[in-house]
Structures are given as structure tokens and as C-alpha cells.
């Protein structure tokens, strides 16, 4: 049903809209002046059909879709966040941090790196900001602090998959065929997740939902079944301690008694 709508309605419509500049340029080419083709006597931005297409695309704002975002990763997110109380000194260099002392060196850090995204300006209105970019600081507490034992993501080179890697992950969706139009409206190339509007704010929390769900589910399951394993573990721990203490005393007594016997043995 959805595919049918895409094939029969959205695709032809989008294709029709996106081909408008080319169609106009082609129509212009059909005219003749003084016995010459129009493009033979025109110059500059309209010097050829191809140039005319580009110019018209620019005039109606289609070139907004060509602008790409830039993800700046400062590489300040540790590769591993451990629950063990390790010394940071040796682990700093290899990108390993302990959750217990991670704040000692750098304090609480909620952001990492930036995304430079094109402004919302439209070239067609002669907006001076068209070629400018706006720098968004990336909200990244989950990437920075989530313990690795709860982190289910990996990058293809084995390093920790952070919000910056997420931002650079290719966006495969074609928005039900409407991607070219959406890109023009959004004013940027939607080739990766980081190009989606507001990614700097919601990218990391979205990554964080996985570990939160895993950790939360684990905590809930452990809590709900605590009646089963809690007393059992406590009972066994007590029994182990009792066995260890009394067994050791018994062993010491038996060995001591036997040593006395050996010492008293007639020789």
C-alpha cells in the first residue's frame, strides 16, 4: 500500500518538481534568436543548458540540498568506561576511564565536539547567510559516561561508537521518495544522521535509550526476582563463611592433635 503510494504518487510528483529547472532550461533552448540557438548567443550563468539548469536550481533554492554538515569530533570521549576503581594515570593514555574518578580530571562534561550546519537561508532571496554555517555543540553525556558493560554499539573499527560516529552514519532512508524535496526544505544534504535537524540535541539521548533500557530492564528483573536469589545468596554466603571458619578450626584442631601424637611417638 505504502509502496504503491510511493511509486504512483510521491515519486512522479517529486520527480516532476525536481525536474522543473531542467525543463525550463530545455524550453529556453528551444527558442531561436537571429537564426541561432539561444544558448549559442547567451553567456555567463545561462551560457549552456546545463549552466542554465544550475542557475535556475539556485534561483528557486534547489541548491540548498547540496550543502553538507561537518561533524567535528575532538576525540575526547574515552574508549572504555569501567565500573572498576582503576587509577586514571595509566589508563588516560589508552582512553580508559573509571566511572568513580572520571570527573576528577575534567569535571562534569555534558558536551563533546560540534556540528557545523548550514544556515536556514534561501539563496533565492539573496540572503547573505547562505554560505554561512551555524555551529551546534553536541550534547553527549551518554557517550561520555555510560559504562561500557551497558554499551551495545560498536563502530566498524572496534572503537567505542559515540554520538559523533552516529552523526556520520549514512542515512539510508529516502523519506518515502520525498528526500529531494525534504532536503530543499531542510536546507542541507540529508546523507547522514548528523544532518537531521536538531541532531546535536537528540542524537546522544537516542543512543542512550539502548543502555538505559538494558540497564533498567536488568535492574527491574533483578529487583523483581530478589525474593528468589537474595535470600539464597545470603544463606549460601553465611553457610560458606560458617564452613570456612569451622572447617578451618576443625582442620587446625585435627592437625594439631595429630602433630602431638607424632611428637609423642616412641623413638
Amino acid at each position: 500500500m505504502v509502496q504503491s503510494i510511493e511509486d504512483n504518487l510521491i515519486d512522479p510528483t517529486v520527480s516532476g518538481i525536481m525536474n522543473v529547472p531542467a525543463n525550463i532550461a530545455e524550453t529556453i533552448g528551444d527558442f531561436e534568436a537571429f537564426g541561432y540557438d539561444v544558448y549559442d548567443i547567451m553567456w555567463g550563468d545561462f551560457g549552456s543548458e546545463e549552466k542554465a539548469t544550475k542557475t535556475i536550481e539556485s534561483m528557486i533554492g534547489f541548491d540548498r540540498a547540496d550543502r553538507e554538515v561537518v561533524v567535528n569530533d575532538p576525540g575526547d570521549i574515552p574508549n572504555q568506561v569501567t565500573l572498576l576503581p582503576i587509577d586514571n594515570d595509566i589508563n588516560r593514555a589508552i582512553g580508559r576511564r573509571s566511572i568513580w574518578n572520571i570527573f576528577e580530571e575534567e569535571g562534569l562534561k555534558m558536551t563533546s565536539g560540534t556540528i557545523e550546519e548550514p544556515t536556514f537561508a534561501w539563496n533565492v532571496f539573496g540572503d547573505d547567510d547562505f554560505d554561512e554555517t551555524r555551529t551546534r555543540t553536541v550534547f553527549a553525556p551518554f557517550s561520555i559516561y555510560t559504562p561500557t558493560v551497558l554499551w551495545p554499539y560498536t563502530s566498524d573499527d572496534g572503537t567505542r561508537f559515540t554520538v559523533h560516529d552516529f552523526a556520520n552514519t549514512p542515512l539510508e532512508s529516502d523519506f518515502l521518495g520525498a528526500k529531494p524535496i525534504v532536503e530543499v526544505i531542510a536546507g542541507r544534504k540529508l546523507d547522514r544522521y548528523g544532518a537531521l535537524p536538531g541532531f546535536a540535541k537528540w542524537g546522544d539521548p537516542l543512543l542512550g535509550t539502548g543502555p538505559v533500557l538494558i540497564g533498567g530492564t536488568a535492574a527491574a528483573l533483578l529487583g523483581l526476582t530478589a525474593w528468589f536469589w537474595g535470600p539464597a545468596i545470603a544463606q549460601r554466603a553465611a553457610a560458606t563463611a560458617k564452613s570456612a571458619v569451622f572447617g578451618t578450626l576443625e582442620l587446625a584442631g585435627a592437625v594439631g592433635g595429630k602433630l602431638k601424637d607424632v611428637a609423642k611417638a616412641p623413638f
Binding site: 574508549n79 595509566i90 588516560r92 560498536t154 561508537f161 539502548g210 560458606t240 592437625v255 616412641p266 623413638f267
Partner: protein, 255 residues
């Protein structure tokens, strides 16, 4: 076997492992020197250098100074053009390199170097270090939950029997599914195994101590009997032999 190591995470280069060993040696040497000098105050009076942290060592192994430059982008803002910084580990090409996955050969090399550092059985810190490094080697950095799961608790394998390697999967969703699957299921199995072990522990401790008692007491009984029998054979002054001699004399009417 697959060409890539079977786990995600990253293994640090062997130069890194060797440098770690050199740093540990220096630290231990300096600690020993301070101890032999009679403590920190005496060592300070003698001008002995103090043990350094890994970071301090890695920016200046020779200890001849590490000039910085405000314009430098190098770690610690070290000045790469200074001759005094040619020894800085953080400026070497291999410093930021790492190999994806768990490289068992490199880890083994590092662990064997750690083992060779143990002087003798009385070197308790060395033994503890080696044991900890055997469990969690410094040169391997886990980066996902799946990296904490030993092969024993992993059920995800490919058709060749190798562990499924998420870093071989191009699709992000597949990669995440494989990592989360290995991690969640593996950690669940580890928890269940841990619970089972705790349940068995009292019995294991009790039976273990009983076994030790039987072995030690049994051995001492053997020693006791051996002593008694040997005495019977070779000691002419033993109580039993004396009694025998007295009885014989009485029978012969010689007392």
C-alpha cells in the same frame, strides 16, 4: 579462522606494551632505591628521583625535560620540534594506533613479559600484577558490552564455528544487534553461572576442607606409624625394647 580477531574492542600496539614494561621497571627501580635509602626523606636528601606516573613517563621517558609550545596541537602541548622531545612516546606514530579486535598474540606477548618480571615466588606484587593482567590485560580495551563475555559464555557463532564478529558487519543495525545479543545473552549466562557457583560454594568449601583434613591428618598418621615402626627396628633404647629386655631378664632370673 576468520582474518579478523573475534571480538570488538581494540588492542594496543606492541610498542605500547613494551613501553609499559619499561615504565614499570623504572617505577619499581626508583621505589626500591628510595626504600634502600631509608625512606622518602633520606631519598630526597640524596637527590634520588621519585617514581613517576605513566603519563609523566610517556611525555618524557629520558627525564631530560619536555618543552611545550603554546601553538602545539600535540598531546600535552609538547613541542614536536624540540630535540628534547624526540623520546616522547606520545609523539611516536604508534601512540594513537590500535588494532581492532582482541589480538591474542600481542596480548600473550605482553602477559609473558609481565611473567618474566616476576623475580621469584616471594615477589607478591609481581605475581598480583601478572594475575590481574591475565584476567584483564592493559593492552586490550573493551569498547562494548559483548567484549566482557568470554568465549565460554558466547553462543553466537558463524558457520565456521568462529565467534560472530560485529565489526565485520557493514550495516549498523546488524552490528548493534550482534553486539547487544552477544552482550545481553553472555552476561545473562555469566550471571546464572555465578549464581550456580555461589549455591555450590558452601558444599565445595566444606568438602574441600574435609579433603585437606583427611590428606594432612592421614599423612601425619603415616608419619606417626613410620616413626613408631622405625623406632622398633633401630632404637635399642625405646620403651618397647626396654620392656622386652626387662621381661627377658625376669624370665632368665637375672634381675
Amino acid at each position: 579462522m576468520s582474518a579478523r580477531p573475534p571480538l570488538a574492542g581494540v588492542t594496543l600496539p606492541s610498542q605500547y606494551a613494551i613501553s609499559l614494561m619499561d615504565w614499570r621497571k623504572e617505577r619499581d627501580y626508583r621505589k626500591d632505591a628510595i626504600k634502600e635509602a631509608g625512606g622518602k626523606i633520606a631519598a630526597r636528601e640524596l637527590g634520588l628521583p621519585e617514581p613517576r606516573g605513566w603519563w609523566e613517563y610517556s611525555i618524557d621517558p629520558r627525564g631530560d625535560g619536555a618543552p611545550t609550545s603554546a601553538n602545539s596541537n600535540a598531546p600535552g602541548q609538547l613541542d614536536p620540534s624540540s630535540p628534547l622531545n624526540t623520546d616522547a612516546l606520545v609523539l611516536q606514530n604508534w601512540w594513537d594506533s590500535s588494532q581492532s579486535g582482541r589480538n591474542e598474540k600481542m596480548i600473550m606477548q605482553y602477559q609473558q613479559m609481565m611473567r618474566s618480571e616476576i623475580d621469584n615466588w616471594k615477589d607478591i606484587p609481581g605475581i598480583i600484577n601478572y594475575t590481574l593482567e591475565s584476567i584483564s590485560p592493559d593492552v586490550y580495551v573493551p569498547t562494548t558490552m559483548a567484549d566482557y563475555v568470554p568465549n565460554l559464555f558466547n553462543i553466537f557463532q558463524d558457520e565456521n564455528g568462529n565467534r560472530d564478529d560485529p565489526s565485520n558487519m557493514d550495516n549498523w543495525w546488524k552490528r548493534t544487534g550482534a553486539t547487544a545479543g552477544q552482550g545481553i545473552v553472555g552476561l545473562l549466562f555469566m550471571g546464572a553461572a555465578g549464581f550456580g557457583l555461589v549455591m555450590l560454594t558452601p558444599r565445595v568449601v566444606e568438602r574441600g576442607l574435609e579433603t585437606v583434613e583427611s590428606v594432612v591428618v592421614g599423612s601425619l598418621e603415616i608419619v606417626e606409624k613410620a616413626v613408631g615402626k622405625t623406632s622398633d627396628i633401630i632404637n635399642p633404647f625405646s620403651a618397647k625394647r626396654r620392656l622386652q629386655r626387662q621381661t627377658t631378664k625376669q624370665l632368665l632370673g637375672k634381675d
